[in-house]
Symmetry: C2
Subunit: 173 residues, 2 copies
DNA sequence: AGAGTTAGTAATTGATCAATCACAAATCAG
DNA sequence: CTGATTTGTGATTGATCAATTACTAACTCT
């Protein structure tokens, strides 16, 4: 097992990573499967061995991005103190925005896509993040947990815009 | 001057309105100029008499949407009391989200488009809205005006997502 | 060795689309 | 009435793209 081996799982992950980059940079509808394939260093038709349609590839890419966010938030909730909970959640989100910016940019795009399968993934992702934060705020004894959760999500959405448009003044104080 | 007359100005406005609807519903990159033309009840090539490219049409549509928002906020700021300022601004935004939802959905799409001309319009729009709100909060003697402005914008962004995904639970309380 | 399976590609297809061109119909000015 | 301008469309073009087809190459197991 050399590190150059190419398993089917690796290939699929490569394609998803390439798709996240290309879709985020170029825009899902404008990006072509050939561009994704080129980034993944495979031929264009080979993409369709792993994903039957372009939309299915988007769906999978979105699932990956939500899983990353949810896992990260869960880790914080399971390991921090009530006083550090909110700042640590904010820090976790900022880390993701730094390291996996393209995944967040892709989520932003998907917010306005009207295909029902896409909307469903987005709704599930948002609902689960909200659930995790709300439960954690409640367990930490934070008062007005519902409103605080709303404000936490709201600041997250503004951070996204701030990053996407390169307008740090929008969020910084 | 009958109300059925078609001036060049009317035609242009028709095309912009049609573009806002079609782009918002279908997505800018996926929407076709033929669909815009059909909605505006003209032929597809005639669109290009008023806009030299599809992107220029998007740019104009975005300008219209920002002008609507900015004019609305200015009206509130110029006419309300310091105590009613924030609730009235929130109400003004909710009204726009109800009546001109497509314009906001188009702005959301444009947040992730990387063409520099599009980004410039979006940055100017956000910067001007922020300036208006911040100045008004300051003039109204609201403490921590900067932070309150940030939170106002943040709640606005969450409202957008809540509307786009039809998830009222995200913003309601 | 060689049959069977997996990994991968070149070439093509049918559809779609932004933009242009060539032209027609209507309106207007003198 | 007529020439000029404005308003508008049908037909076309050249490019692009998702998806399919028909292959080849490489590996695996016996």
């Amino acid at each position: 097992m050399a590190d150059t081996e190419t398993t089917s799982v690796n290939r699929k992950a490569d394609i998803i990573s390439a798709a996240i980059e290309v879709f985020a940079e170029i825009g899902y509808f404008r990006a072509t499967t050939a561009q994704v394939a080129e980034r993944a260093k495979i031929s264009q038709p080979y993409v369709f061995r792993f994903f039957s349609t372009k939309e299915e590839l988007l769906l999978t890419a979105l699932e990956v991005s939500w899983t990353r966010l949810i896992d990260s938030f869960r880790k914080v909730v399971d390991s921090t103190s009530p006083e550090r909970l909110e700042p640590d959640l904010i820090q976790a989100y900022e880390d993701i925005l730094n390291v996996y910016q393209n995944e967040i940019l892709l989520q932003m795009q998907a917010q306005t896509i009207r295909e029902e399968s896409i909307r469903e993934v987005m709704r599930q992702g948002f609902a689960e993040v909200r659930r995790i934060v709300l439960d954690a705020f409640g367990a930490a004894g934070i008062p007005n947990a519902e409103e605080r959760t709303m404000l936490f999500l709201a600041r997250g959405m503004l951070c996204n815009v701030s990053v996407a448009l390169a307008m740090p003044e929008l969020k910084d104080q």
